[in-house]
Symmetry: C2
Subunit: 319 residues, 2 copies
């Protein structure tokens, strides 16, 4: 099937066509530029969902899907699994709640592997998001099952990033201090029926009151949800829409999407530069054992003269 | 004061001399290579402490300091704050427990800023760790007050990485699934007097039983602690020593330190390459709006011909 036929089938709801296009885009195949051009110009709400394990991300995503489906939107979910090398349409074992939507033709859920993919999460997922919106999905949710770096990268891929917290999961202020205040657009205190929910909200408010903002800058709303019962989801949907309006109003959206594309290009460029400017084991040993310092070693790599006294003719390299 | 005098003063316990040397190393000043050479050859236990906010990292670090001090070791702590641009000897406000050790001459605690530093956390902190061990500290603890990427990087800087979990902080299996199983050398279930501690330990054990290991490979021990009361800390100290013995025994330690130095060199090299191979805003817009795909854009940057139809003569760039 050619690209035009594939994209037509995908737009008509053919999951296998969607999957084939996604695989081509994720792997940067030679068809990828033509596919990107064929689906250019989508206009989806792209929502990133981050938060520590156990705060209820999958349940919340399932509730969001439900709310958007009721409003007639087509919804796609990219569930990022940084520990897996296998992408696919399969719903992950632990996403029981999402399975409620598995038979709904207006919902497409895909697990996305990023391990071993050139350019990592950013370069793998950015094109996938653009493809899905180009295929007519009205909302694309990017969620990670991982922790760490993936959470930061996901914020870069989304228009609106939700940071989920749960009461009793530790000090909200610590999470906020750690720079997450800058990547989250909407705070969600999930499991809000548990003791400590109001304290978590209060901590967040106190923290936010300390951040200086320019006039017109976005002020993160705090939503309280009990995702399992659907409580607070309508308000969350409104908050997401509010952020989207703010983004569109002041040309922030176009800027955000350019930034996202720049990060993707960068990820691929970096992957190639790592191959070209390799750090040798001998040079690493020189630094580890104090024969030189890291800045001098870096200059050597850049001058492409990584020969050292202890360098054998064929040496292993780090990339 | 010259480098020889500074290092002599630092070895004798002069905190200000330690601070001045650390600042020089963190900023990659022209003295840095000479300082690195002057202190080469230390032999400290380097322990990374990671875990979600609220699991009790600072309290555990304080207990570890106490235990090592009792054994007569000199201990340094680098508290990494990815959200701050200011390094210094000041003890962070929320490290109340660590303040117990503030007047002890055998303990040196420094907050380390990484924001805006060339090469980020890795390039900033690696040299600091080597400096501290070269100055005669027997144990160096690297702890992050941040979440996200910092946690992954810290594991690369340490010989032995502790992953702290707490009961009721969500599914341990999710944390393990996310690839953290590969960066942790010792699991610590802290706040083990709380309900659910045994379930957390059981989940970890079940997860670990699924991981295939070669003969002689390290098998992560699981320690239960109540850091606030010092419970389980002796066992944790033993577990750290056990990992250290394993590392030393099979030449893993030298390899790990070479890997660490390689990562530091890489971080500085990458920073410079990002300057040289800039991604232009026009190119990012081309990808964002579907005029080309990310791989084609990356090739353009690498070919150093990022001119596009929509490129103005002077254009902003991303680094």
């Amino acid at each position: 099937m050619g690209i035009a036929a594939l994209t037509a089938a995908a737009r008509a709801g053919d999951r296998r066509a969607v999957a084939r296009l996604l695989t081509a885009v994720e792997n940067h195949t030679e068809d990828a530029p033509a596919i990107a051009a064929a689906v250019a110009g989508g206009d989806a709400i792209v929502v990133g969902v981050t938060g520590s394990p156990g705060v209820g991300k999958s349940t919340l995503v399932s509730s969001l899907i439900g709310a958007w489906r009721k409003a007639g939107l087509r919804v796609a979910v990219l569930a990022i699994d940084p520990s897996s090398p296998f992408s696919g349409g399969a719903i992950l074992g632990d996403r029981v709640r999402m399975a409620d939507h598995a038979l709904d033709d207006g919902v497409y859920i895909r697990s996305v592997a990023t391990r071993g993919h050139l350019g990592g999460l950013t370069a793998t997922t950015g094109g996938a998001v653009r493809l899905l919106e180009g295929l007519g999905f009205d909302a694309v949710i990017v969620e990670t099952v991982g922790v760490g770096q993936a959470e930061v990268e996901i914020a870069g891929l989304a228009d609106t990033t939700l940071l989920l917290l749960a009461p009793g999961m530790g000090d909200a202020i610590q999470a906020v201090k750690a720079g997450v205040v800058e990547i989250a657009d909407v705070y969600v205190v999930n499991k809000a029926d548990r003791p400590g929910a109001d304290a978590t909200v209060r901590d967040l408010r106190a923290m936010m009151s300390l951040v200086k903002r320019e006039p017109g800058e976005w002020r993160q709303p705090i939503c309280k949800t009990v995702a399992q019962d659907g409580e607070g989801i309508d308000e969350l949907v409104d908050a997401i829409a509010g952020h989207r309006d703010w983004l569109s109003g002041a040309d922030h959206l176009a800027a955000k999407r350019r930034d996202r594309a720049a990060a993707e290009i960068r990820a691929l460029v970096d992957a190639e530069l790592r191959r070209r400017y390799a750090v040798t084991e001998a040079l690493a040993a020189d630094v580890a054992e104090g024969r030189t310092d890291v800045a001098a070693a870096a200059r050597r790599v850049l001058d492409d003269t990584p020969e050292t006294a202890s360098t054998p003719s064929r040496r292993p390299t780090y990339t």
